[in-house]
């Protein structure tokens, strides 16, 4: 959906262009699956990882004050400023999750795509994480959440798309719970939630 794969048939458009050749990749902040559960040995710090958010804009030229400010603001926004110089592999799942969010925010994305962001994150951090998503959404950022937890989906999302190879449902959560879309889509193996701005 964000252009990682070319569709076999049909079309996926992103900001008006076919997604796989979109020129707007700088507008998407992507948080991959499993970031909370995999801790690599790569000796990279949180700040180095968040700085990557600026890299698509600044591939080789010097970082300006604006770039450094964007990184600092993003770190503060997800409340991990004090962890900036820690190694990312040494953080807890929830903290690592926030570091990836900060990277997305540092890129000044207006669309955040999150692939099962709270797998491996404890319940308390999970609630705080969804609060953060709500705040960001209110600030004008569209959030696309891929999530298997139907409870999460129906409480937090403003729009639901239920997908399992094909689209079974697309609409608001209230209608979604009343339909059989979930059962139709093979027990709801995958639901895609759309926080629409």
């Amino acid at each position: 959906m964000i252009g990682l794969r070319r569709p076999d048939s049909g079309s996926v458009t992103l900001f008006g262009d076919p997604a796989h050749e979109s020129r707007h990749s700088g507008r998407i902040g992507f948080v991959p699956q499993d970031v909370a559960t995999t801790n690599g040995e790569m000796p990279i710090t949180v700040r180095e990882a968040v700085r990557m958010g600026r890299y698509p804009h600044k591939l080789a030229s010097r970082f300006t004050r604006a770039d450094r400010d964007a990184v600092d603001t993003a770190l503060q926004r997800v409340e991990i400023g004090d962890l900036a110089d820690r190694r990312i592999g040494r953080l807890s799942g929830g903290q690592r999750q926030r570091a990836f969010m900060a990277r997305a925010l540092a890129s000044k994305a207006d669309l955040l795509a999150l692939d099962e962001p709270t797998v491996g994150v404890d319940a308390e951090s999970r609630e705080a994480f969804y609060d953060l998503l709500h705040d960001l959404n209110r600030e004008g950022i569209t959030i696309v959440l891929i999530e298997h937890d139907i409870g999460v989906v129906t409480t937090h999302a403003s729009e639901i798309a239920c997908l399992n190879r094909e689209l079974f449902f697309h609409g608001d959560p209230e209608t979604f719970v009343e339909t059989d879309a979930l059962a139709d889509a093979y027990g709801g193996s995958q639901s895609l939630v759309h926080h629409h701005h």
Binding site: S25, A49, Y55
Partner: protein
């Protein structure tokens, strides 16, 4: 003043066509490095440093120590360290091809240049295989590794056996193979690799840390992977003269592994280069003093450094843990014995 061996008629100048590069290389070899080590030899009284042979060996040691970890850091943390070994073996096929051409045709080519060409082509092939093979990428690496070594061994025996003598030096590495031309090639390689990694540092780090994220951010991930593979080929061919085909991958991996406990990726690359430099200079010196294989000595010193650092980190962690919770540990122990918990 000693100069680094005057270029006699037997050593063809690779850079003859490019006059300015030739001039710069000559200046760096003789007037900077050679003169610098002569001065150092005069000051310290260590005669070894004044010998042109050892001056070239130390230059090679310096270049290998810098470019090995510089490229190896990205390979190790992408978990494709085997690419180095694979490309070393395809470089061997390249050396064999060069020696074969020299023996059978009337043209003269430097085996190091054919090695570079073959390894670069193999690098692109390997990267394509890794991209398509997915989870079974070590299988495709093993096929290219053994396949290219097979090509090399066939070429070596296809002539009357004349080139088999020369091949030994490439297999196991030797200080003697670092001729003036080869030192110049390694120096140029060092500058090119360092410049390329400096320019492409950000996208390379992004791709190494999070390939899917880099793709989503619109970076041409495949292009950077190919760049990394070709740079690896360059490093392997450059370091091969001293290290030998079989051991060259060690310099891409061991110093990097030794530096993983450093906080920050840039700093870890610097630390790995320091570890590498200690290993190569110590190894070259020991190899000269005791007349033992340079490559093997360097690898053993590098492993020693790696083990010492790992033990040091473990030890420090253990001590700090003990210091943080001495009272609790003691009271827990007495509690356990007093109620007979752990003793029985």
């Amino acid at each position: 003043m000693t100069t680094l061996l005057s270029p006699g008629p037997a050593t063809p100048s690779v850079f003859g066509q490019v006059g300015s590069v030739d001039g710069i290389v000559r200046f760096l070899l003789d007037d900077v490095w050679g003169a610098g080590l002569d001065l150092l030899a005069g000051l310290s009284g260590i005669d070894m440093l004044a010998s042109p042979f050892m001056q070239r060996a130390y230059l090679a040691a310096l270049c290998i120590a810098v470019i090995g970890p510089l490229v190896g850091s990205f390979l190790v943390h992408r978990e494709v360290a085997m690419i180095g070994d694979t490309l070393a073996h395809s470089a061997f096929a390249g050396v064999a091809a060069g020696l074969f051409v020299n023996a059978t045709l009337s043209v003269t080519v430097a085996p190091l240049l054919t090695a570079l060409l073959v390894a670069a082509v193999a690098a692109l092939l390997v990267q394509t295989l890794v991209d398509y093979a997915g989870a079974y990428r070590d299988t495709s690496l093993a096929i290219v590794l053994t396949g290219s070594f097979a090509v090399g061994s066939v070429l070596v025996t296809a002539t009357d056996g004349g080139i088999a003598v020369g091949i030994n030096a490439y297999l196991f590495g030797s200080l003697a193979t670092v001729s003036r031309t080869n030192a110049a090639i390694l120096l140029v390689m060092g500058v090119v690799v360092t410049a390329a990694v400096t320019l492409a540092y950000r996208p390379l780090v992004y791709v190494t840390f999070d390939e899917v994220g880099a793709r989503a951010a619109g970076l041409p991930v495949t292009r950077y992977n190919q760049l990394l593979a070709v740079l690896t080929a360059g490093v392997v061919v450059g370091a091969m003269q001293i290290m030998g085909v079989i051991l060259v991958a060690a310099m891409l991996v061991i110093p990097v592994a030794a530096a993983t406990s450093v906080r920050g990726f840039k700093r870890s690359i610097g630390a790995a280069a320091c570890a590498g430099l200690l290993a190569t200079t110590t190894g070259v010196t020991l190899s000269y003093l005791y007349d033992i294989a340079a490559g093997g000595t360097i690898v053993l010193v590098a492993i020693g450094i790696y083990a010492a650092i790992k033990a040091g980190v473990r030890g420090r962690r253990y001590v700090s843990r003990r210091r943080r919770t001495p009272d609790r540990a003691v009271s827990a122990a007495t509690a356990a014995t007093s109620d007979g918990g752990d003793d029985k």
